[in-house]
Structures are given as structure tokens and as C-alpha cells.
């Protein structure tokens, strides 16, 4: 049985064809359009990315990109009502998200309602209604989002601390996307207008239409609704080009936080790591797989299954446009401490740096990623978002195959090298969060 499994673990040297078919063109005002037909269900996805995220926020306005995303749902001149209003009526699945790098908006509508979706997106791109009442209301909503998803959730603010300590002051990822109450509260109508004029312009956006639609019809509708929206007048800032290790972290920062309402202690170890698609990025994903994916993996197998000093442990590479962050996160088993976990992890990593991974570990990791790519294409909305993501982050909507190939091209040597480049550095953040001492068992 083992022999059979090993045989199957050998991935194809060349990935199977996973491409998402697409065509692309650009309007005179700079709006790039990407089409991808897929008639599997009678639904069409409209997916718009604006190339602005919390990394682009100015000092004193953390959380603003996300607050602005909320305002995009509050009405526009020709559609002056809640954005969900016209779309929920036709059973659409609608939302928007903001992260450090970008803001996206999407709706999956029954095919017949493509005009409605394009009309709505164009109207808020060109004719957003900005007023104090809507701003004040959404400030409260977003501050409640912060309370719900960060403050009132056990360990919910860990990420705020990690980014604060890992990325230096002034780094675009120093703060998290949700921002601070103080900064959210300080946002003014002028900020909203300025942000809209600067970033929400056709030449800073890409429109993907994917699914069950006729390209000729869509082209006509796009010209009608988006064609006359003027390009931005304010110059877009030059994109910062990702550069591995463009900041140096030379020392370990240890943070010990006591928090009301957490059930047990937990620890995060975080290192600065390569940006998305940079050399070492895919290798670090493969490293995560061999460290903590499965009961026979090195770190999970040792700490959770064999020695049982940890309840759980997971390693993952957080790949982003400008810089990455490699994280190992663990909960100690009853009777054990976060310090024991850190020591055991360091010992195991040191051993790993001597030995390096086996051929099998790396090839099994490749098999995992190949499957993940396939499962990642199970909905048209995921494909639409991926086209936009590749377009922005890799500069090529058709990057899917190359993306997978990065994993297939990895070797035990390249995985080891990436591990050394990232994890052997003394510069890292170790964050311990535990219940208040008096409450500890």
C-alpha cells in the first residue's frame, strides 16, 4: 500500500492544463476588461478590482480603504439606494472585500441580469453619492465590524500586533486593513472625495466578466455604461515594485500579552518572507506542507502526535504584493507552555536546516498544490477573482499555469534554501497571548 502511494505521489513534470480561457481589451479611459465564458450554470459574474488597499492609506487614516468600500454600497446618482437593493431582488450573490493590496467588488447574477450588474458597477465607479449621513452611519458599522471580528473574538487582535511588530513604522503593512477606532472616527467627507477621485477611476480598475454571457452583448453594455467615465485626473502613484527583504529585521522581538476572554495560551512565530510570486514564495508553501500538513509531517507529527506538547500547530506563508510573512502558530497541550513550543520548534527547524527535505516530502507537497489548484476552480466566481488577481499581482491574467509551475519546479534544494533565507534569520516576532495570570489554571 505504501509503495502504491509513493508511486502516485510523483507529480507530472508538466502540470495538467488548468488554464482559464480569457480575452482582454481596454477602453479609451483606461478600464481594462477581461472576459471568460463558462456556461456551466446560468449565472454571470461581474468582478471589479480597484488597485488600492490599506497599504495605500495615509497616516492618521488607517482603515480608510475598507471604510470606503462600505461607502461604495451606499448609493450612486442613478442608483441612489443600498447597492444590495436591486441585486438581491434578482437573487444575486453580492459583496466586496478590502485587503492590504486591493479592493474588490463582485456580484454573481442570473445571466439575464448582466446589464443590471454592469450598470450598478459603472454608476458607483463614476457617480458615487458622498454625504455626511452615509459616512457617519458606515463609520459605526465598520467600528462594529472591528468589535465583532477582532475585539470580541478570542485572539482576534493577534494579527494587529503581529503586523505592528513585524513591519516597521512607515511600511505599508505596518497596520492592518481594519484600522483603528480613532482613525476611522477621524475620516471626513474631504477624505472620501479625495480617495474617490484618486483611486476609483477606470484607469485604476479592472473589470472581469465571467460565466454565462455573450461577449458581444457585454462589450456593448460596457461601452455604454463605463465608456464615458473619465480617467482620473490625479496621477496614480507609481507602483512600488516588490523587492525581497526590502526591510531588514535583525533582532527577535518577543511580545507577551495577557488577554481577557482567551481560553488558553497561544503563540505565533513570524518572520519577514518573500512577496507573492517572488523567488522562495512557492518553496515556503511546500515547506509548510512538509512541516505541518498531516500526522506524518515533521512539526505537527512531532509536537502534536508524538510528544503531545501541542494541541495544534500550523505553518503558513502569507504571500502579499509587497512583502510576505511566514508564520508558525501553535496552541500548547494541557500542562505545556508556549515557551516549550517555541524551543521545540526551534530545535526541529535547526535539525531540518541540517538535513533538508527528502525528495518524497517535496513531491508529496507538489501533489497537494496541484490538487489545490484544481479545487480552486470549482466556482466561476473563484475563477473571475483569480483572473483579476493574476492580472494585478502577476501582471498577467493567464498566469495560472505559471503559478502552478512554480511549485512543480521546486526541488529539495530550493525548499531548503528558502527555509534558510527566511527562518534562519534572527529577526522575527514571537507573540505569546495568554489568559490573565490570576485566571490561569
Amino acid at each position: 500500500m505504501l509503495a502504491l502511494a509513493m508511486m502516485l505521489a510523483t507529480p507530472a513534470a508538466q502540470a495538467q492544463d488548468l488554464s482559464i480561457p480569457y480575452e482582454t481589451y481596454t477602453l479609451d479611459n483606461g478600464l481594462k476588461v477581461i472576459f471568460s465564458e463558462d456556461h456551466s450554470v446560468p449565472v454571470v459574474q461581474v468582478n471589479v478590482w480597484y488597485h488600492v488597499g490599506s497599504k495605500d492609506e495615509v497616516e492618521g487614516r488607517t482603515g480608510f480603504a475598507h471604510l470606503f468600500e462600505h461607502l461604495m454600497f451606499q448609493g450612486s446618482e442613478n442608483n441612489d439606494q443600498d447597492y444590495f437593493g436591486n441585486l438581491q431582488e434578482v437573487g444575486a450573490r453580492v459583496n466586496g472585500t478590502t485587503n492590504g493590496d486591493r479592493t474588490n467588488y463582485f456580484e454573481g447574477v442570473p445571466s439575464a441580469y448582466l446589464p443590471l450588474a454592469l450598470w450598478g458597477e459603472a454608476d458607483r465607479m463614476g457617480f458615487l453619492v458622498i454625504d455626511q449621513e452615509r459616512l457617519d452611519n458606515q463609520k459605526e458599522v465598520v467600528r462594529n465590524e472591528r468589535r465583532q471580528r477582532y475585539e470580541n473574538r478570542p485572539f482576534g487582535t493577534s494579527w494587529v500586533t503581529l503586523q505592528d511588530k513585524l513591519f516597521p513604522v512607515g511600511h505599508p503593512y505596518h497596520h492592518t486593513t481594519i484600522g483603528s477606532h480613532e482613525d476611522l472616527d477621524a475620516a471626513t467627507l474631504d477624505d472620501v472625495q479625495g480617495f474617490y477621485d484618486q483611486w476609483y477611476v477606470p484607469n485604476n480598475a479592472v473589470l472581469v466578466v465571467a460565466g454565462d454571457f455573450d461577449p458581444a452583448t457585454a462589450k456593448g453594455l460596457i461601452e455604454q455604461y463605463f465608456g464615458t467615465i473619465p480617467a482620473g485626473e490625479t496621477p496614480l502613484p507609481e507602483r512600488v515594485v516588490p523587492d525581497t527583504n526590502n526591510f531588514e529585521m535583525t533582532e527577535e522581538v518577543v511580545v507577551r500579552q495577557e488577554e481577557q476572554g482567551v481560553p488558553y495560551a497561544q503563540v505565533w512565530m513570524a518572520w519577514p518572507s518573500p512577496a507573492l510570486y517572488e523567488s522562495g514564495d512557492a518553496d515556503l508553501d511546500l515547506l509548510s506542507s512538509l512541516l505541518t500538513d498531516g500526522k506524518d509531517s515533521r512539526l505537527y507529527g512531532k509536537l502534536v502526535i508524538e510528544d503531545q506538547i501541542a494541541k495544534s500547530i500550523s505553518a503558513y506563508q502569507v504571500s502579499r504584493y509587497l512583502d510576505g510573512m511566514y508564520v508558525i502558530q501553535a496552541v500548547p497541550a494541557e500542562g505545556h507552555t508556549t515557551d516549550e513550543i517555541v524551543a521545540a520548534t526551534d530545535a526541529l527547524l535547526a535539525e531540518f536546516m541540517e538535513e533538508g527535505p527528502t525528495e518524497t516530502e517535496v513531491s508529496v507537497g507538489k501533489v497537494q498544490y496541484e490538487a489545490q489548484f484544481i479545487y480552486g476552480l470549482s466556482t466561476v466566481s473563484a475563477k473571475a477573482d483569480r483572473l483579476n488577481s493574476y492580472n494585478f499581482l502577476a501582471g498577467d491574467p493567464g498566469y495560472l499555469q505559471n503559478d502552478l509551475q512554480r511549485y512543480l519546479d521546486s526541488t529539495p534544494e530550493s525548499v531548503l534554501q528558502a527555509a534558510k533565507d527566511t527562518l534562519a534569520s534572527p529577526g522575527r516576532v514571537v507573540l505569546h497571548i495568554s489568559p490573565p495570570a490570576e485566571a490561569a489554571q
Binding site: 481596454t26 456551466s40 431582488e89 446589464p115 459605526e140 458599522v141 453594455l221 496621477p235 496541484e370
Partner: protein, 479 residues
């Protein structure tokens, strides 16, 4: 200035547009109507039977080269006996910790090499062993799945580890506002029979691997289950593979799920649970309503949609979009074999907990009197349900999950076909009257988890009976 901006934009995409005309006045920006609709056909469901009588249901979907197989059983944590709460759930957890000749590590390694997964879990009224595989690795994946399903070894050493993990999970649930609210609510609405008696550290420590084996042998027998398959596969392909692995297993005697007591409140009562320092309060209001096999089902579903079941419904538009008290508020109907539970839920800013609850009660009062659901609101909710339905059928997960629901709850085999006509048949009058009769005019169990030091007094002032409980169900204070 314009020149500069063009230089900085992605140069290969942008034609130099020196003079950009303002929006032409001729552009029609009025709300557009629909194009011609595309056809939608429900997926074909094929059925076979193994030689031991086990039914096989297949829903094909050839979009991706993946296959999902679920063995679903009519059992679950409702079979847990007193002092052994958690038995069904941990027994299901333990299935892939050792099976046949493989130990847990080997199972994990073999699956990883195939990029497959085999998972098992129990809910209150079901237990499932599920395999997800790339088509090309289906057979070796099914070998492991069948071993896990048929030959689990329940190793003691692994139980020690999982027991410790589960105890920490319990502690975690007791700090999460949503699960805290459910711990308390379940105890109030299911009474002494089942779900209210949640798993405890003591009950986990009382469970032995021998108990698990006995539970497994009683409940995971072919006559108590069914096989559901979806993805890049046909009945002709899968049936022999399942027959070879399961066909000769004796059907066994089906265990029966016990009857579950459900308790309807007789007077709206607010139950408070303290979470000192909480930035928000978790508010849940619940009561039992007619389930899917009852004639009122479609009317209630549509009425609830309009009142609280979606973003644009009254509840969310009031609490979030008007007042800004919360990130979101919804009501929904959740089904299990004991019945259907109506739940309105929101996590609201601590300072405005009582005003938010007051709005919730006011929405329920107003829909009965001065603001009945309008024809527009009901037609909007129907349209949302009907037009949104076809999009659900995109993933293998949904296709198989939907068949699991039909089987577990004994719904008509053509349930998916009934959905659109069922919704379309609801009249505004029936949506209104059923929502009022079943929900708005009825007593509710209201649970609030939050910082009692700051939120309690204004809640007491709302005028409803208030009881302060701890997470173990003990009454701390009764007003």
C-alpha cells in the same frame, strides 16, 4: 498633469487620451431590464442499490476531475447517553486514527500522497464519513475510505491525545460569544433530553474506546445509512467500486434516533450570560416553527426572508443601515430532525444592547400591526429566492449536500424540483399571516452574552422577565 498620469498608468494598456469628454448626456443611465433568460435544468439524480440493500445516489458534474463520496448515517449526538455526552462525536473523530492495518499516521500519509481527504464527523442528528478525491486517484482513496468506515481500530493511545484536545476545545467554546449563546440556548429549548446536556470535561473523561466501538457497531451499519456520490463520475462507474468494498457487509439492524423533546417558551424571557469587558453583546432570539414537512413551510420561509432573512430585510436595514448598532443582523430557520428553529441573531455594540433589543422587539410588534409586510417586500423576497436558486447548483459539495438533506430529513425525492414552485406559490397575505402567527406574535427565548456590568440595567428596564445564567445553566439571578 494628464500626460504624467498616463505615463504612470500601465503604459501598454492606455491609449493617450488627451481630451476626455465629460459623460455624454445621451448615455441612458436608467435602470436596465433583463436580457433573455438562459435555460436551467436541474441535475439528473441516478439511483442504484448494493447487494446488501444500501442505496447509492449519484449526481454527475463533470466540470472538474474530482469525485466526492459520502456515507451518511441516521444517527448523531442525540444518541449520547447521560454522562457520556460527546460519544457520537468523538467516535466519529476517532475513525481515521487507525483502521485495518494502518495507524493514524499511515492513513494521513497515504491520503496526502494521493491529495485526497477522508473525514468523518457527527452532528446532532447525522454522522458522515466522506471522501474527496481527484478522479485519477479514486480507487486507492476509496480503499482508505472503506477501511476507515468498516475497520476502525479506536486505538487507546490516540484517544488520550484527542481527549485532551477536545477538553481545550470545550474551553474555547466557552469563550466564543456565539457558541456561549448556543450552549445556554440549547439547554433552554431542548430541556433535559438531549442537546442541552452539552459535552463536558467529565463526560469526555468517562468515555472509553470500548464505548466508541459499541456505539460504532450499533449505529454505523449499512441499513442505517446511504451512499451519496457527486462529481466527475457516473452510476455505472461508481457502483461496482462501492459494491466491491461494501456490498458484502451485513446490513445490520438499524438503530433508531431517540425522540427529542423541544420546549416552546410560554412568555418572552431574556437570559443573560456574563462576558466581562466584551466589546459587543451577542443577542439571539429563538422559537420552534413548523418544519419543512408542514404546509406553512414556504409561507414562513418567504415571510421570514422579508422580515429578517437577508441584507435588505427589515431587521438588518434597521439595526445596521439605519442605526449603525451592528455589522449585521439576520433571522433564519434552521432544521434538524426535532423540528425547525427560527433564530434572529446579531452582535451589537455593548453600549446600545438594550436599544438594539428594543428595535428587535419593535420590528416584531410593528409587523403585526401598523407595518405588515407589503406586497413589494414579499414579492422581492420571492424573487430573491427563485432567481438565486439555479446558482446554487454549481459545486459538487452543494449537489451532494442537498441529497444528504433530502435523505436525512425524509424530504420528497423531488425536493429540488419543488423549491421554485413552492416559493412562487406564496401569497403576500400568507407570508404575512404565517410570519405573525408563528413568530412575531409568539413568546421567544432571548439570550444575550455580554458585559453585564454595563448592559444589564437597561435590559431589565425593557420590562421582560430577566434571568442571569452561567454557562453550566445555573441561575445566578432571577428578576
Amino acid at each position: 498633469m494628464i500626460f504624467l498620469s498616463l505615463m504612470l498608468a500601465c503604459p501598454k494598456q492606455v491609449e493617450p487620451v488627451v481630451e476626455m469628454a465629460p459623460p455624454a448626456p445621451t448615455v441612458d443611465r436608467s435602470k436596465p431590464g433583463p436580457l433573455e433568460s438562459s435555460n436551467f435544468t436541474l441535475p439528473v439524480i441516478q439511483t442504484g442499490t448494493l447487494s446488501n440493500g444500501m442505496k447509492v445516489v449519484v449526481v454527475e458534474n463533470h466540470e472538474l476531475p474530482v469525485v466526492q463520496v459520502r456515507a451518511v448515517f441516521n444517527t448523531g449526538s442525540w444518541t449520547d447517553k447521560a454522562k457520556h455526552e460527546g460519544l457520537a462525536s468523538v467516535s466519529m473523530d476517532m475513525l481515521n486514527e487507525g483502521a485495518g492495518d494502518r495507524d493514524g499516521k499511515q492513513i494521513s500519509a497515504d491520503l496526502k500522497a494521493l491529495a485526497s481527504s477522508v473525514s468523518s464527523n457527527a452532528s446532532s442528528d447525522s454522522a458522515t464519513v466522506r471522501a474527496d478525491s481527484l478522479k485519477k486517484n479514486l480507487e486507492p482513496t476509496l480503499d482508505i475510505w472503506a477501511e476507515v468506515l468498516l475497520e476502525p481500530t479506536f486505538p487507546k493511545s490516540e484517544w488520550t491525545r484527542i481527549q485532551n484536545q477536545r477538553i481545550l476545545d470545550l474551553e474555547s467554546a466557552r469563550t466564543n460569544p456565539d457558541s456561549m449563546a448556543w450552549i445556554v440556548t440549547d439547554r433552554l429549548i431542548y430541556g433535559s433530553t438531549y442537546e442541552g446536556r452539552t459535552t463536558t470535561e467529565a463526560s469526555l473523561k468517562a468515555i472509553s474506546t470500548k464505548d466508541m466501538k459499541a456505539w460504532y457497531q450499533t449505529h454505523l451499519v449499512p441499513s442505517n445509512g446511504t451512499l451519496l456520490v457527486g462529481g466527475d463520475i457516473t452510476l455505472a462507474e461508481i457502483q461496482p467500486l462501492l459494491e466491491a468494498r461494501l456490498g458484502s457487509v451485513a446490513p445490520g439492524k438499524a438503530a433508531v434516533l431517540p425522540e427529542i423533546e423541544t420546549i416552546q417558551p410560554t412568555e418572552t424571557t431574556i437570559y443573560l450570560v456574563d462576558k466581562p469587558g466584551a466589546a459587543q453583546s451577542m443577542v439571539k432570539a429563538v422559537r420552534f416553527v413548523p418544519a419543512r414537512d408542514q404546509p406553512e413551510y414556504w409561507d414562513l420561509m418567504v415571510g421570514n426572508s422579508a422580515w429578517g432573512g437577508m441584507f435588505m430585510a427589515r431587521l438588518n436595514m434597521n439595526l445596521r443601515e439605519d442605526k449603525g448598532y451592528t455589522y449585521g443582523a439576520r433571522s433564519g430557520i434552521y432544521n434538524n430532525q426535532a423540528g425547525a428553529l427560527w433564530v434572529a441573531s446579531s452582535s451589537v455594540q455593548s453600549e446600545v444592547t438594550a436599544p438594539a433589543m428594543s428595535e428587535l422587539f419593535a420590528e416584531l410588534a410593528q409587523v403585526q400591526a401598523e407595518r405588515p409586510l407589503t406586497v413589494d417586500e414579499v414579492e422581492y423576497a420571492k424573487s430573491n429566492r427563485v432567481l438565486g436558486y439555479p446558482g446554487s447548483f454549481e459545486t459538487v459539495d452543494y449537489l451532494v449536500g442537498s441529497r444528504s438533506t433530502v435523505w436525512r430529513y425524509g424530504l420528497p425525492e423531488n425536493w429540488e424540483e419543488m423549491y421554485i414552485p413552492g416559493v412562487q406559490g406564496v401569497t403576500p397575505e400568507k407570508a404575512q399571516s404565517t410570519f405573525v402567527e408563528q413568530v412575531a406574535s409568539q413568546p421567544l427565548v432571548v439570550t444575550v452574552v455580554g458585559d453585564l456590568a454595563s448592559i444589564k440595567a437597561p435590559i431589565v428596564a425593557l420590562g421582560y422577565p430577566v434571568v442571569v445564567l452561567d454557562l453550566d445553566g445555573n441561575v445566578v439571578e432571577d428578576n
